[in-house]
Symmetry: C2
Subunit: 445 residues, 2 copies
């Protein structure tokens, strides 16, 4: 920490009032976890985010499918951290870093000097080089995308009701989800419930129950990284819900009217569908890419930055990377997954490492991921979970899923609201946020 | 009803299966009220709306000020009318009417034939000819506008926290509301509470309590159509909340950085303010204007269509106008106000008139508005009400306001959610939907 400070207004290190400045970029699970874990540390924390809220990403699919309102899965970062006096929250988008001057540069040109930087800027959706698919197959990474997806799904049924050509009706009632990871399964399960239950009695011409929901996966089974028996159980549950699961199938093209797929060893097949949702891969955030360049850091194909066992970047002991942007490994060499648990634990670890180093320790014990397990929900009373190596499915897994998700929602008010929404959804199949907003239907056409 | 039918697929009147077709345009208080009141009538009802939901407009200001999520004040028209088998709901925007052929024409060219038409397309915001003000002074007429206003209000505090120039900070912390009708008062009161309570402990540099909230009204008092004693009480309550009420003041100009006003007999004054909200007048919907032209109907300055005592348009006994678009009068000659109660009662009346005429009656008793009173809420434990001529203010008026608004929310699930949100708001001052969404901050700048 002997670099010169070039930022204006930076206090000299000899100033006794100078407390180490920790700048955290991103208020997701990793960044917020780090900020909270620095609660009692003698540091000045600045948490910068482009948005003013922390988002409970695991329930995003419920916003996209009209069960929850955006406000119910988002907590204002300011109010979450209101009582923690050593943190200030600022709205701003980091676009660059100056590792020599130890400063972060924002989109509006402002510079923030740091002694330690925690980068938790996460990931964005990857279309694997087919960026033109984005227009026809939105993902649900941001709240705006989730409400746009909600619009798309609900509008499809409305358009089908208004249409008269049977082929057109069929293509409005065909929903394709690309990618059978947890998000793909959640979307497919929720769509099945919308078509078969929620909208059941609401239309006069079409029968929503006849909607086709197709889940496409390149790998030979759904939930590829899960144990094989859970994948099989999940696939069975999906079939029971009427979801057409197609594994070993690759998407070749997506356009306004449908998807062209290629089954291993077969010819191309064109499936007409007006609603295609992307639950495919992720790639490092734009800032993450810039950071990797500036630090000459090693990245994987998705742009994740390889970190040392203490989550710092090689050659930059003052820069921690946590969450989706970090390329970390388990002791057995397997890559850590991009899930909330990993991000939270990494954020907490970075905070602890900073505290330990402030006390004069030369080294800190390496980050160890405590794997509590994985779970994916498919629908009502249906989920699969691998908890501490125990494989659970069906109702018990679903109850655990409900409980854990309610528990992890950051603010109590949202927890109560989500609980109320889920209660109604369970009892009546009604979805409390079935709004087509954002664009008028004339724009959408 | 002897006009030729030009629409394709229209059944002949001799067809015994032909039931009179009632087309309702708009699913607000008037249109939804009419549809529900036709529950047991031997008619086929088609309810057309541009949006898929009924909106509880009186609570819109709470979406704009972050207490409620859009989903909590909106109910899908389809699910509200799901059990009523003689109604079909269709998404579509009416752009024209052919009164001779008795058909409505939609934006996409589709035609809907009617035997009776109920027009409930409502109103939109009027800037009294200054449409360039719209960019700087949004109103809260649509859900999209309400979330944009929420963005604007919350972003102002964020920008103030980031700014360093005292003048700039001051202009970010100055909020001007134009128009002191019920909406203007609601916005001013909620803004005062946000600044003084909700955000109180959330910032490190600025003091949100120091925000200036200015309510501007051209008339000599707030709530001009209310009894003078209630206006005086409302003004006192606003002052107590720290709102700067300026009556007899006319807005001359609004731009990106502030508002120029003119006090009666004084020179122009320029007030720097980054957040200006418009709670001014309304004007007939675009379709309403087109309709007036097509029917050669008489309108007032705001484009409202003058209706006969049975709410039909002179010369067009098959066309009813209800809600904000109708220019109706009380027996004493005073114009009916553009409020939910009038729209609901007019919608119900139109449905009743249709039923009575179907039974062969030549004439129906005229519409009579049953005036239960008016109320406006200012803030916590503070409202004014004029109920059956009894003037109430303060806590009792507020409790009545809460009770009536909860009661009138169309669907039960929303009622529970709103109740939970209000409970938390009351106890903690926390606002459950404090999200800056819609545009990234880089766009906003």
């Amino acid at each position: 920490m002997t670099n010169p400070r070039t930022s204006p207004g930076v206090r000299a290190e000899s100033d006794p009032a100078h407390r180490p400045r920790v700048v955290i970029l991103g208020g997701g699970f990793g960044g917020l976890g780090a900020a909270r874990a620095l609660r009692r540390a003698p540091v000045d924390v600045t948490l910068l985010d482009r948005r003013n809220f922390h988002l409970f990403q695991p329930l995003m699919y419920q916003v996209a499918t009209g069960s929850l309102s955006p406000g119910e899965i988002a907590a204002p970062l300011r109010s979450v951290l209101s009582a923690q006096k050593n943190v200030r929250v600022l709205l701003g988008e980091a676009v660059d870093v100056d590792p020599v001057a130890q400063a972060v540069i924002l989109a509006d040109g402002a510079r923030f000097a740091y002694d330690t930087l925690i980068v938790a800027t996460g990931s964005e959706t990857s279309y694997y080089g087919n960026d033109d698919w984005k227009e026809w197959a939105p993902s649900i990474k941001t709240l705006e995308e989730a409400t746009a997806v909600r619009h798309k799904i609900l509008y499809a049924f409305e358009a089908a009701e208004r249409a008269s050509d049977p082929e057109e009706i069929k293509s409005w009632l065909t929903f394709i989800i690309v990618g059978a990871g947890p998000t793909g399964l959640e979307l497919a399960g929720a769509l099945a419930e919308i078509a078969r239950e929620t909208l059941r009695h609401d239309f006069r011409t079409i029968r929503p129950q006849e909607a086709r929901i197709i889940l496409i996966e390149t790998a030979p089974r759904v939930l590829p990284p899960y144990p094989a028996d859970l994948s099989a159980k999940a696939e069975k549950s999906l079939s029971k819900l009427g979801v057409d699961v197609r594994t070993n199938v690759k998407v070749v093209r997506i356009d306004a009217t449908g998807v062209t797929v290629e089954e291993a060893g077969s010819a191309h097949e064109y499936i007409p569908a007006r609603t295609v949702l992307w639950a495919g891969g992720i790639v490092a955030s734009k800032f993450g890419k810039r950071l990797a360049t500036q630090l000459h850091a090693e990245t994987d194909r998705a742009g994740r930055i390889r970190v040392l066992p203490d989550l710092t970047v090689p050659g930059h002991p003052d820069i921690y990377i946590v969450g989706d942007l970090a390329l970390g490994f388990r002791p057995d060499g397997r890559q850590l997954p991009g899930v909330a648990q990993v991000a939270i634990q990494e954020g907490n670890y970075a905070a602890r490492a900073i505290r330990v180093r402030l006390k004069g320790a030369q080294s800190v014990p390496p980050f160890h991921y405590f794997d509590k397990g994985d779970m994916a929900v498919i629908g009502r009373a249906s989920a699969v979970a691998n908890i501490f190596g125990v494989h659970i499915s069906g109702l018990p897994a679903w109850i655990i899923w409900l409980f854990i998700h309610l528990l992890y929602i950051v603010d109590f008010q949202s927890r109560v609201l989500v609980f109320v929404q889920w209660g109604f959804l369970y009892l009546t199949y009604n979805r409390g946020a079935r709004l087509i907003t954002g664009r008028s239907i004339t724009d959408a056409d």
